[in-house]
Amino acid sequence: MEPRIGVFICHCGSNIGGTVDVAEVARFAEGLEGVVVASHNKFTCSDQGQTIIKQDIKNLSLNRVIVASCSPTMHEPTFRRVCQDAGLNPYLFEMVNIREHVSWVTVDKQKATEKAKALVAAAVRRVVYHQPLPKREVEINPNTLIVGGGIAGIQAALNIADAGYKVYLVERNSSIGGHMAQLDKTFPTLDCSACILTPKMSLVGANPNIELLTYSEVEEVGGYIGNFKVKVKKKARYIDVDKCTGCGECVNKCPVYAPSQFNMGLAQRRAIYRPFPQAVPNAFTIEKRGRPPCRAACPAGVNAQGYIALISQGKYKEALGVLRETMPFAGVCGRVCTHPCEKECERGKVDQPVAIRALKRFMADYEIKTGRECNQPVEINKKDRVAVIGSGPAGIACAYDLIRQGYAVTVFEAAPQAGGMLRYGIPEYRLPGDVIDNEINYVKELGVEIKTSSPVKDLNKLLKDDYKAVFVAAGAWVSQQMGIAGEDSEGVTNAVDFLKQANSGEGIKLGNKVAVIGGGNAAIDAARVARRLGAGEVSIIYRRSRDEMPAEAEEIKQAEEEGVKINILAAPVEVLTQNGCLSAIKCIKMELGEADESGRRRPLPLEGSEYDIDADNMIIAIGQKVDKDALPDGLDYSDWGTLSVDSVSKQTNMKNVFAGGDVVRGASDVISAVADGKQAAISIDRYLSGVDLKEGRPKAFKKAEDVPKDGVEKQARAEMPLLGSEKRHSFDEVDLGLDEEAALREANRCLNCGVCSECMQCAENCEPGAINHDMQDEIVELDVGSIILATGFKSFDPSRIYRYGYGRMDNVITGLELERLVNSAGPTDGHITLKDGTSPKSVGIIHCVGSRDKKYHEYCSRVCCMYSMKLAHLVREHLPGTEVHEFYTDIRSFGKGFEEFYNRVLEEGVNFVRGLPGEVTDITENPEEEGKLIVQVEDTLAGCRQRLPMDMVVLSCALEPQPDAGDVARMFNISRSEDGFFLESHPKLAPLSTATDGVFIAGCCQSPKDIPDTVAQASGAAAEVLSLISRGMVEVEAATASIDERACSGCQLCLQLCPYLAISFDEEKQVCRVNEALCKGCGTCVAGCFSDAISLSHYTNEQLMAQLEGML
């Protein structure tokens, strides 16, 4: 068909006509090939302009129409409709933008006209190739998603729900209400904010059409107008909202305090909290930041924060209960644990780590002091019996976990008393026997049978005796040899045997001079025991330097206090004897070389530096190894001579035999042994229940990070009281333990890194059983037709403006903070107080903090003048006679009743100073200024500089976009204006819609505004949504992509690129295919296709090439 093109050029008043010679462009167009008519009009979009187009289509039989005017986002739909009304397919129309692209951006009239001509020529060439496209309509899903539960979200939700449609209201905090819930009174009417807001909140909670998703955030948005698919993450709040009655019993039990965000950090709340009493839903939330570093560092996972939190509240019994959830050794580990927890303690980054071990011991001591009730035996409900070989920490920990799961457990111990190395390897002055007895008895009382003097050699016999699984934790009881001449002489012994004899009370004869070889804890123990047994000169010989000694620093210090000498950088090379008896040790001096694989510097002998040390006894303490002869047969060993096990499951080469502790690790520490015992218990239970041993192990967890430390005052760590060194002749305990006062103080130093300490007190005391500490985040998928974003604002952080002193000086506060102080439900019950608790006699309010300032935000935040004046009024109402100064740049009281309120406040006697203060300082210049905050300001009306001393300074902070506004905009595919707020599609005529059809905005996420404007916008957005719903169908872009199956290589790249999931892969034909119903015509796949197989109707190559040719 021969093209018959009509070109209609618009003056847009003087918008285009002022810069482009429109008549000339029309003349030019007339001469172009295919153009039947070219005319120009003052306003082509007007009724008259539209009529001309329609008449020309009919009278001149036009089959193509071009309008050169404004942006297609403005009027393309208008002119397409005109064509359709005149019987022409709307896709035979083309729009040329000569306003935004030409007249508004060009000064030179001639150049502008030339450009307009080129663009028109391009369109004339292009439009020839246009094809009529069928109209496409989609159905509108009547459900609506509203993001943000502030007053805007609440209002919109109620409007839509009241009209009978379903609304999903997503709020990231645990309650709806937003910033308005934090306000005291609202300007200019001084209505109580809560009184007008909370009834609306409860309506939301009660409305059956509104599904509330609090403590939730939108994760992903797909689809298009009428058919959005949204994924919402419901963050674990650890409370079942449906079961929680809001009774608050849990709050009283919670031992952890955290700053209340609702009260702007001015008050504390518990880790389990409800932001304010009128919260909707009226349910609690538990705040968890992750696993505290102390707990994460503990090999056995002991919940240190849990028991410390309870100690801080004086709940010692409950605290001990928390520890016993994991293991029975409070008194043992409270004395001898190597406390890896303390190394990770975040408090150490402020001053010193919390004395976790000492607190653990305190709980145990407190129980012994106050008496412990006998444990009730556990009901044995599992049919299988388990044998444990060895009653050290690994064996007992394993037995403890198994019996609590209902397994009958028998522990076989070779020695006459239970406890293993705890009993025979650690001296009494460090770990008294009755402490071990108490904790092993605790386990025995549960029903664990311990058979002492019962070595086990034959595993098969045990298994025949109907034990279904065995845990081998027999320890490492043989000392390493030095491998030097004379090592087996009389007078030479080793630390293992020496300490065992001492702990068993066997008489030991020592000479006056004792040398201990080694630098570990066993060496220190041996040396200190030797001193206690009467040796006059005890020395430790260690081959590296003091820094490399593996023994604990505290132990070394105590040893030295007791007179033990430490010889570093020395190594024995020969034992010198007289008559077969030790007489002296030949040593060689060492120096430190390069670091070895342990990271410690390698000791190297200095040749020719040999010297002799006189000694009557020598105790070798250079490590221990496993005694293979004492272990059952049939087990595999590692190259190190220890039992070989799977590192996760602790399973040996025999499937029903597990092993852990020193027998696997070589000489190690108590807590690692406990950890092994616990892991073996899990494996044994899984083995006996026929479950995979390793699935999901080790369990992953999130560690608490970024623990806030602002405002934490330095405080010394509790010192462990010690027995005076002059009294340390006997085996009396040296560490005396913290007293209650010291323990309480120490426990309160804990920073509660994980926030919730998982002490489980809330769960134990919740009658409806609403608490579930294992709750996981959950993803909910929603299908909605429309979306309203009402995500609100963030208050500007004024600490960015150094000169105003926020965060540096007490009594410089923000407007929102004063809002909480003045609120009768706030942290001070409505008393306006300074940090010292007194009332201010003078208050200065500084306007425009962060607003109207190019360094921060250029815009005016619109509400600060009014809320500042409202606060001034409230201060004077609460504290009559208080001097209030308002420091302003301009007063913007533009709303209904605002100017009247300004006049009222003026008349009430508030002082208004026009001038932006240069600084707020506490540097005084005269005695009257002492102790005050001085506001230094140029009064631009009086024309003078002023220094005004104030008791309190309030900063009226800007409203700024939420910190994640950029991410949200990307997720919903909408734009932001330069100031960071969401961009409306037209600032005047479409203030609620966005670049994405079906996504609307309302409230402060669009720009700062007051409550009345916010509510009006919210209702407006609701009306937009309801209009869509009632239409039921919406016309969408007819341009869609199609794939030429012959050219498609089947690479499926387009499948990944398509944002609308409109492309699928045909497995049989190995080609991709576009679902036209889902395609939005965005063109992403066209650009991405390597094979050039995809084309987009209305944007074909022919059309685009013709357009380019026309332009050139």
């Binding site: 150094y802 000169r803 300082t921 506490d922 540097i923």
Partner: protein, 299 residues
Amino acid sequence: MKQYCYYPGCSSEATAKGLGLSIEAIAGPLEIELVEPKGWVCCGAVHYGSLDSTEAIVVAAYSLALAEATGLDMVTPCTGCYVTFTRAAKKLKEDAVLMQQVNRGLAAAGLEYKGSVRVRMLTEVLINDIAPQSIASKMKRSLNGLKVAPYYGCQLVRPNFGFDDPEAPQKLDNLINSLGAEAVPFPMKNRCCGSSLVIPEEKIALDFVYKVLKSAADNNAQCIVTPCPLCQVNLDAYQGKANSKFKTKYKLPVLFVSQLIGLALGLDKKALGLHTNIVSPKSVLKHIATKKQGVAGGA
């Protein structure tokens, strides 16, 4: 050895001799080579700019052109010179017309400025190029326990050319601390000392001097340390007058940063020009002498 084009400025040869002397003294031990361009002239600071801004820039450009010929960064110890040169260099870079105008003037002296000089403040070079740790590693004497009020003055951080936060500067504090001395909290650290008013409005200037001295003394400083020759002479020479006006008895030595570093490097007090200070620095020297000598910091 790091090389710099060194522009001493007129102060360091006249009212602030201690500055010039101490810089020359510390340069060697810190392995800095200072190349002084022959024939440099006054930077054109202070009041010239308000009389004829173009001529003032020509004056600055004269020395900039000399510096450019060395091909090195131009380093000045004077905050006044630093601000003048930085401003001139910036203006010339941004304004091609001005550059032409200025070069017409320079042509009379046979010079040309192309606009490539990087102007730097000596204190900034010490902190960024030499680094406090490296200075500390060369220390011969400990300044342990010496309480120092770090005085930045107004020009070093304003206008903000990126050296430090104009409202809460910290870099001088860090340098002082790295020498083992203790930078005391000093709220007046970046306030004007009043030096430009000392001739026309002495009364007002003394007010400023007093406030700075009081703030330092109230925070138990034993001395004030500043990089600025204008501040130094003002706080030092007018301390007596401020004392009589405000009936105080402050005797706070006002040292240059380079003098303090020189003391830590174990240099002779005469070589550091300490004899040119008006308020005697004896108390500082005594403090250093009585401390047990050991090397702190990064050694």
